[in-house]
């Protein structure tokens, strides 16, 4: 109803992105490019990454499918992408900002304090949730046609960025309402999100492979994410953590992501230090490579298991 225009805008944006990424890998005509030897070995990691990269046209199609199907068949359509974060924010504000008293710092309104970090966490949360289910969700495709399986979890961590963009609209409203002018540091937001994507990608890939073999993931993941939420400075600021433990605290990469996004949008003093950022980044990349390794190991025989 109200949402067709918005939906079309998104479709158009995604489609034009696809066009650019597409064509190249297929256009080269020589068939030698396509010589493959299939044997019991799994093939080199680099060759397989390259293969996945060559098919980025398919990756964009998968992202596009994720985004398009998310809000279809819902009467309010894409408006949910705005209503949900707004409602969540309202609940958190009521419980933690009003009932339990202010957990924020300084003169910043709690809503403004809360929201940037919440966007970061929400992204991480849904990226991991989707990525860990990605192989299972598309088992019917996996058992019928080959493509680099890596594309599925990767698509799952790209598609929730649409929620961040929609959440950004809510943020704009908050900024106007609180009369806060975003400082120049706002340009760092995508950087912190990328760090979140690295961490989510690593964990998501590992969990996706694991989930194909053991269904335990779907049971313990919500608990772990719940715990993770409280170990991340979303409702509160990292300055509540004793200084001595801050570096240890930063082993959770989301500490830097959430605290970083808050700093980028508010431009205030931050408990985040460069050392903490480096620790988080290092951990995120360890997660990425670990997840990639686990995924590559499980990938090729996943069809026999699913």
């Amino acid at each position: 109803m109200t949402t067709h225009a918005e939906q079309n805008m998104i479709d158009a944006a995604v489609e034009s992105a696809t066009d650019v990424a597409d064509s190249a890998p297929f256009a080269a005509g020589s068939s030698n490019r396509y010589e493959i030897t299939i044997d019991q070995s799994r093939g080199g990691v680099l060759a397989r990454l390259r293969e996945a990269f060559d098919l980025r046209g398919l990756l964009w199609m998968l992202v596009q499918r994720d985004i398009k199907t998310r809000y279809r068949q819902a009467a309010l359509g894409i408006a949910w992408g705005i209503l949900v974060p707004a409602a969540t924010l309202a609940i958190y504000w009521f419980v933690f900002g009003y009932l339990l008293g202010r957990l924020g710092t300084g003169d910043v309104p709690y809503v403004l304090f809360l929201f940037p970090a919440m966007l970061g966490w929400k992204y991480f949360n849904s990226a991991i949730g989707r990525a860990s289910q990605s192989l299972k969700r598309d088992a019917s495709i996996l058992s019928k046609i080959y493509f680099p399986r890596l594309l599925l979890p990767v698509a799952s961590i790209i598609s929730p960025t649409i929620d961040v963009l929609l959440g950004g609209l809510v943020l704009v409203v908050i900024l106007i309402a609180t009369d806060h002018v975003p400082p120049w540091t706002t340009v760092f937001v995508p950087g912190f999100l990328l760090l979140g994507a690295v961490a989510a990608g690593g964990l998501g890939m590992g969990l996706a492979a694991f989930n194909a073999h053991y269904r335990d993931v779907q049971h313990f993941l919500p608990v772990v994410l719940h715990l993770g939420f409280f170990c991340t400075p979303v409702l509160y600021g990292s300055d509540r953590m004793p200084e001595a433990f801050r570096l240890l605290y930063a082993f959770n990469p989301m500490v830097t992501v959430c605290e970083g996004m808050r700093w980028a949008v508010l431009g205030h003093d931050t408990p985040l230090t460069l050392a903490m950022g480096l620790v988080s980044t290092a951990v995120a990349f360890v997660m990425l490579f670990g997840g990639l390794w686990a995924f590559m190991r499980f990938e090729r025989n996943v069809v026999d298991v699913l």
């Binding site: 068939s31 010589e35 299939i38 044997d39 199609m61 495709i141 019928k144 025989n301």
Partner: protein, 418 residues
């Protein structure tokens, strides 16, 4: 070009109760291995789905693969399409591979027909620019143009299949892997789709074509290979391989688990549809013998009529009738007056009643002992395969006989085993 050398695939069948798949036991095994202890023996039995299969397909050649169910045909296609890894041996594939193992891969019900053409096409390996170029052709072929911007959920199953096939039929890879799944839809569409398949196969591509149907293989393929229980038993000119296969299996081996017929209003009653279904509603025609089989019959009554029934006969591939059943069997009152209209009725045959093998279903409607209004002989054919009996673990071929039950033997007194 495809070049296979000593290709083998082993599956390990685990007994159900082993804790193989549980997280803790797998962590336990990992820990044991890490400590350098050997893995404890796993109960289970090996099954070679393919064993030492070597062959070559030259560019532009069409090779047919024939064999019974469970001969390893699908496993071979799965390996070449990179869905699963071989246990031993290797295949070299030169050229862009397109596999047609099933229609509708990647279809998403929430997306529109047009969006699904792009999605499914790209998943099947078609470049997006090419899809755009052929979009019109694809939509035209599918015959669903008026609904192309409607979500696929609202399509009938026939429309969905036609659209899915239209996407697939426009793939133009250098190497084409085809499983015989492609006889779908109504008669008219089936004719068009098989014409398109022939065009693709004859169009100078390298083709691997799996089929139960000897005639189609003979018509489309230059050479053929025959698999039996995972081994290559003959390879060469299609005619001689097909002959060898025929001699070995002794008869037809096609499956066609769904048939539909035009309404014929000149008759008081007519058969419209016959299908054989698994409990999950799968009508691929290949069913697990241990599961119940549902025979479903759709028929029309064109005028109010009395004393009629619907009769169904199941016979083996060599014409022996195994059972007959009528919709008036359980309640003779069903022979009373029937109103005009379209009806669908089904009955279930319990699992393991019939032995593995191929069966045909004949359906007739009419007045018992008096008159047959419409009769469809051998309307559908289905295969029962053994996927779960205990004896298959040591007795890999089909048992002679028509009854598929397994019976426990009881010893009186002393046992011969220590």
């Amino acid at each position: 070009m495809i070049e296979s050398q000593g290709l083998s695939k082993r599956y390990v069948l685990r007994y159900k109760n082993s804790h193989e798949d549980l997280l803790f036991s797998s962590m336990f095994r990992f820990a044991r291995r890490a400590m350098g202890r050997p893995e404890p023996e796993q109960p289970g039995s090996e099954h070679w789905a393919l064993k030492d299969v070597s062959f070559e397909v030259q560019p532009g050649e069409a090779l047919g693969i024939i064999g019974r169910n469970g001969a390893g045909k699908s496993t071979l296609l799965k390996i070449i399409s990179r869905l699963t890894l071989p246990t031993e041996g290797r295949v070299v594939v030169r050229g862009r591979v397109g596999s047609m193992l099933e229609v509708g891969v990647g279809f998403n019900p929430d997306l529109t027909g047009r969006e699904n053409i792009y999605l499914s096409g790209v998943i099947l390996g078609m470049p997006r620019v090419e899809i755009r170029r052929r979009l019109d052709e694809i939509i035209e072929f599918s015959g669903v143009r008026p609904f192309i911007d409607v979500p696929v959920t609202r399509y009938s199953s026939g429309m969905r299949i036609r659209l899915a096939f239209a996407v697939m039929a426009n793939l133009e890879p250098e190497i084409l892997l085809i499983d015989e799944v492609l006889s779908v839809g109504d008669a008219e569409f089936r004719r068009r789709s098989s014409a398109r398949m022939e065009e693709l196969i004859r169009g100078g591509r390298t083709v691997l074509f799996v089929s139960h149907n000897r005639e189609i293989v003979e018509r489309l393929c230059d050479r053929a290979l025959e698999l039996d229980r995972g081994r290559l038993v003959s390879i060469g000119a299609t005619a001689s391989v097909a002959e060898h296969y025929e001699a070995a299996t002794g008869g037809v081996d096609t499956t066609n688990a769904y048939a539909s017929y035009e309404a014929d209003t000149s008759k008081p009653m007519c058969v419209r549809e016959v299908s054989v279904l698994s409990p999950l509603g799968d009508c691929s025609g290949e069913l697990d013998m241990a599961q119940p089989i549902r025979i479903r019959i759709g028929y029309d009554i064109n005028e109010d009529i009395e004393n009629v029934n619907v009769f169904c006969r199941i016979s083996t591939g060599d014409g022996v009738t195994v059972l007959g059943s009528s919709d008036a069997d359980f309640d003779p009152a069903n022979l009373g007056r029937r109103r005009r209209g379209s009806y669908t009725a089904a009955f279930d045959i319990e699992g393991s009643l019939l032995e593995a093998g191929s069966y045909m279903v004949t359906v007739s409607v009419g007045e018992p002992f008096v008159k047959v209004f419409d009769r469809r002989a051998d309307a559908v054919t289905f295969q029962l395969v053994d996927r779960s009996s205990r004896r298959r673990l040591w007795y890999p071929t089909t048992r002679p006989g028509l009854v598929g039950r397994e019976y426990p033997w009881v010893y009186e007194g002393r046992l011969p085993w220590s």
